[in-house]
């Protein structure tokens, strides 16, 4: 199993039955594939509905996800306008938002929407989601393709929102923000603390209860 799917699996284990969840594009969209059987979540789509489901082959007119791609919907779906969509998002009615990150820092700041000097796609709904969701989970590979740290002392890229991140889940481990401090709570099987330290610029505390990160059975080292 690749890093992306390992991360998505671990993120899925964070969900509680009944949670209202918004998933960013890319890696986060893999999360529903790994939900425990007894956990049912409702997916919010910022283009205006609650009840996003898998496509299941049949496309319906004007039924697309926030990436503009055809999608499905579950029984009991509700559509609404963009103002209402963000009343729900900003108002704390979304339990969990899962997004990728370019950088996260030890203050809980997230940067994931622009790199100065490069094409700027825009923040879309990300700033409202990170500001308003009860839990903000950053799901990303631990380091850049070049091996550089993404979990920093201080973000250098323009922020998406200040001090809002709840947890960071990478293929190497799980960090949580507890009482304003960045705490390592899980380490992936086969990974050492030294390796995490080497790939993490931020100062962090290792939880006394730090344990092995849950991974799919087939991925467990034998």
């Amino acid at each position: 199993m690749d890093a992306k799917n390992l991360i998505a699996f671990r993120v899925a284990q964070e969900m509680k039955d009944g949670d209202v969840v918004n998933l960013g594009i890319g890696l986060p969209t893999l999360v529903p594939d790994y939900l425990p059987e007894d956990v049912h979540i409702t997916l919010q789509s910022e283009n205006g509905f609650l009840g996003l489901g898998p496509l299941n082959g049949k496309t319906l007119p004007n039924l697309v996800n926030a990436g503009g791609k055809p999608c499905g919907m579950v029984p009991g779906t509700a559509f609404f306008d963009s103002a209402m969509s963000f009343c729900i998002i900003r108002g704390g009615h979304v339990d969990v938002t899962v997004l990728g990150g370019l950088q996260v820092d030890q203050e809980g700041n997230l940067a994931n929407w622009m790199v100065p000097g490069k094409m700027v796609p825009g923040m879309g709904g990300a700033m409202d989601l990170v500001t308003g969701a009860k839990n903000v989970i950053v799901a990303m590979e631990h380091a850049t393709k070049e091996g550089g740290a993404k979990i920093l002392k201080r973000c250098t890229l323009p922020l998406t929102a200040a001090k809002k991140v709840s947890a960071i889940i990478t293929e190497l481990g799980v960090f949580r923000f507890i009482d304003g401090k960045l705490v390592l709570t899980e380490i992936a099987p086969g990974v050492t603390l030294d390796e995490i330290r080497a790939k993490t610029e931020a100062e962090f505390v290792v939880s006394p209860e730090c344990c092995e990160m849950e991974t799919p059975r087939e991925a467990q080292p034998v």
Binding site: N47, S85, V120, P121, G132, L159
Partner: protein, 221 residues
């Protein structure tokens, strides 16, 4: 002939189009954007437009064709990443792009349409979005004052309309359309169907007809 007093042809829109005007457009990545009206605006030859909406679609879809054909001077939007041409013109200094959070954009348009002078939002605090904005603190929480947006015209896409202009939208095509119906001097909706007045259950109307000045039956020339 119009079936109703509000129904007009695409061509009848021409006298209302002019260089430099501002246009609110419904839609999210083209879904809920009135493609026929966009085509009419393109054909009219008007330029230097200010366009306001969630995103700029793609160079071929939604409002994006106006950008690709260089009819736009300014974009107010939350996301331009799906239309490389928008980014290219912005970097080349040909196009002024104002990016803001999607929820803030929705509230600003709603304010513009409802007589409100703005909203206080926590979104954007501590980011570059707060530059140049009034900041207020209540109970220890910082908020940005985000100001209203209005436009000369709003172009909407509906699924069904009645003779009075009452609108019903379909699924995710609703998005920004209902709030934009409040916020322009002239509001025109392209609709897949026009039914006799009285045929839409009053409880199910999503945009009251009094907000809509003109209807165009989609595809009808």
């Amino acid at each position: 002939m119009s079936q109703t007093s509000k129904q007009i042809s695409y061509a009848a829109l021409r006298p209302r189009l002019r260089d430099g005007m501002s246009i609110l457009f419904g839609g999210f990545l083209g879904v809920g954007t009135p493609e026929g009206i966009v085509g009419e605006i393109l054909d009219s030859g008007v330029r230097d437009l200010t366009i306001i909406g969630n995103d700029t679609g793609t160079p071929e879809v939604g409002i994006g064709v106006l950008v690709a054909n260089k009819r736009v001077r300014k974009v107010i939007s939350s996301h331009i990443g799906t239309n490389a041409e928008t980014g290219r013109q912005m970097i080349a200094g040909e196009l002024d792009v104002e990016l803001g959070p999607q929820g803030t954009l929705a509230e600003r348009i709603r304010c513009g349409g409802s007589g409100l002078g703005g909203v206080l939002t926590p979104t954007g605090v501590g980011t570059i979005v707060e530059e140049g904005k009034t900041k207020l603190n209540f109970d220890g929480i910082d908020y940005l004052v985000e100001r209203p947006i209005r436009a000369d015209m709003a172009i909407l896409k509906a699924h069904c309309a009645d003779g009075k202009g009452n609108l019903v939208y379909q699924r995710a095509a609703r998005n920004f359309n209902p709030i934009m119906a409040l916020a322009a001097d002239f509001v025109v909706a392209e609709t897949d169907a026009i039914v006799p007045t009285g045929d839409i259950d009053p409880d199910l109307v999503m945009t009251p007809g009094v907000l809509v000045h003109a209807l165009i039956l989609a595809g009808e020339q």
